[in-house]
Symmetry: C2
Subunit: 408 residues, 2 copies
């Protein structure tokens, strides 16, 4: 491979930049001349907006800083390629740019929608006898890509959720029963409950954690919820409940739609959800008279690289390296996957898998890992998730504030 | 001093437990027999609900863990003592309990309202020739106690705000100009802007930070705000604005009251504010058509001990030690203060001051430290705040999650 290009797409994570670091490192080991970075993914690619990663990453201090920088160092996008038959020109333009810049391989880090881009481009290349290679590098806090055991980005988000929820539990328990507060915490994950399930990792030293967990995969029953809060309020002096932003009632309505604010739609046509915790906190206050508080982790959960999981950072780097290694072996139209060999000790290897079986497929949480009666995650989930949040990579501080690598 | 008692009151912080640690350590050095902790402050005291801190803190590992535990280890309360003339019985009960348990000194960590408790009790002691001593230990994220240079609890909250805002800025900048998002972040501080001002510490390596800061001390002009957002949107691809929960319009209305949700009142009669960022995000979206996002740090900012400032932790411990030392010298009716000797290098000593000049007085931010035109903090504030967020105390992790000391 003479030159390669790497881009980032979709919602950012705390560790997506470690995958860029991994792509760069392996490519340089293999003698690749230029490792280009697309600025704002395929959107920037179409405008030939590239940077040469040598300009930043030849310096090892910068390499280390990049691994500690959240969000998309290269810039991200939410650009959906048109169907080939609808607009062949875009594809022709992409391959022209690749040829003109002597780029032999194209790497894209992202989730379901981004893997669709890899699928379309590798399909087009196959149909038109193009020699360029296309590899997907998994990245999503949602952990909802199929085939792979888990997705880089998930572990760090889960670690943030566990840590912050544990601190919220401490805070909420500071007053006595006469000042009981029902704290409802809203966690990302539109359709898959992997992140909300990570609330179960917030258990404290006495073995007590969040009082209930509501996953988006399970129909939300408002009466059951209110009864549970009333029951808990009889004995407890602090109540903390974790809910997914995507919980829906039996008629398919999102809980946040029970209140009347208007919601926008993103460019993939997904409804923008928020306000689930606020909606529920208002309902609880009205129906029970209890003091309530709504907390939304919002983008903090996907950007908090200062508390990222070292396991996750290392795996994000590893999948980037693996993608380059396999492209160098001639592979294309595939995504790197993580294969767990064992939980205790945790051993995880990488492999690759046909992108057609991955793009646009959403992996939900196995419902047998959820105790519906008690609204808690079972041991099976804990065993799955715990290894993914282990370890820390100390941030680099200056004047008391974390440092990041920033594109000029 | 034979025995002493220490309690926590008001909203918790990340480092209030370090003051308990400091009180315990110094008392034991001075040969105090029992260091009792009031469970839930004066509320628990009145029920003789004490623990003996030896049961936890004789073990040095526990002592270290306590310094890393957020919120009130002993439990907090929001109990306002009645005026002496309104209910002398309460005071008689308090002194009976002190005498019965041979408690010679009473230490209370808290903010304005809690210092009022120390004032009333020391006044009563003086009027009734009681020998017990009463000392205030400053603690408030709001940093609004007078006389003292700053308050333990503030530095860690400021460090959380700077770190998290910097990560939010990264996240918000991940997309290109065609997906510009106006992100409005709401920060605690009802009347004093110290915490919101800490948003200025989030500046990145290019020197860019939040785009505007709105303090509660300055009248909020919605038209000016909307015009600023429109101007910024002309050139920028990411906008992040920090607002205090307490900003008010010229007619004295809190911004969050511009929307119509109902607000509760706490037991000191303060209005419970929230939803300022959401209110503004909705107004911006409606008036400009721009995509908006509201983020509220909520209790995360006061509970995030995993990113606490080491300077703050050390000073919290120090003020606890100083309170005991001065009580041992016979001082009463006073609060420990922090006296800054210099900024560079940062040197800070402790002293004590008459509680009558402190209780119920709120220290606001000097407006000459605020650039009203550009809505940014000036160098004077940066020089003041920066030393307070320096240093980290590595959390103790187990299975990837931070560990805390929890009362049995």
């Amino acid at each position: 491979m003479k030159n390669i290009v790497v881009g980032q797409s979709g919602g950012p994570t705390s560790v997506i930049n470690s995958s860029i670091a991994g792509v760069y490192k392996k490519a340089k080991e293999l003698g690749v001349e230029h490792v280009y970075g697309m600025v704002h993914g395929i959107e920037g690619f179409l405008e030939e907006n590239f940077i040469d990663l040598d300009d930043y990453l030849k310096d090892n201090d910068n390499y280390e800083l990049l691994k500690r920088t959240p969000s998309a160092f290269l810039g991200s996008c939410r650009y959906k390629l048109p169907k080939i038959e609808d607009n062949e020109e875009v594809y022709e333009r992409i391959f022209d740019i690749l040829e003109k810049n002597e780029i032999d391989a194209f790497f894209y880090t992202g989730g379901n929608d981004s893997m669709d881009t890899i699928k379309m481009l590798s399909d087009y290349a196959k149909a038109h006898d193009k020699k360029q290679l296309f590899m997907g590098v998994p990245k999503t806090i949602d952990n909802d890509l199929p085939i792979t055991d888990h997705c880089p980005g998930y572990g760090s988000c889960a670690k943030y959720i566990a840590t912050s929820l544990k601190e919220i539990i401490r805070d909420n328990a500071s007053f006595s029963k006469n000042r009981l507060t029902v704290c409802i915490v809203e966690i990302m994950g539109r359709h898959a409950g992997w992140l909300t399930a990570a609330a179960s990792l917030a258990k404290d030293e006495t073995g007590e954690g969040v009082d209930a967990i509501y996953l988006p995969e399970v129909e939300f029953d408002l009466d059951e919820f209110l009864n549970r809060v009333k029951e808990l309020a009889k004995t407890k002096s602090s109540i903390v409940i974790a809910v997914s932003e995507g919980i829906q009632t039996s008629d398919g309505k999102f809980v946040c739609e029970l209140s009347d604010s208007n919601r926008a739609v993103d460019s993939f046509g997904h409804k923008q959800l928020s306000g689930t915790a606020t909606t529920l906190a208002n309902i609880v206050a009205k129906e029970t008279g209890l003091k309530t508080r709504a907390i939304e982790f919002s983008t903090l959960q996907r950007a908090a690289s200062h508390i990222a999981s070292l396991t996750d950072i290392n795996e994000a780097e590893l999948v980037g390296q693996k993608a380059v290694e396999e492209a160098n072996n001639g592979k294309t139209g595939m995504m790197v996957t993580l294969i767990r060999e064992s939980d205790k000790p945790y051993v995880c290897n990488t492999n690759v898998f046909d992108i057609h079986d991955i793009a646009n497929v959403e992996k939900k949480i196995p419902l047998e890992w959820y105790d519906k009666e008690n609204k808690q995650m079972k041991e099976e989930f804990i065993n799955y998730a715990k290894p993914l949040i282990i370890g820390e990579l100390l941030p680099i501080f200056k004047d008391g504030v974390v440092q990041h690598l920033i594109r000029k």
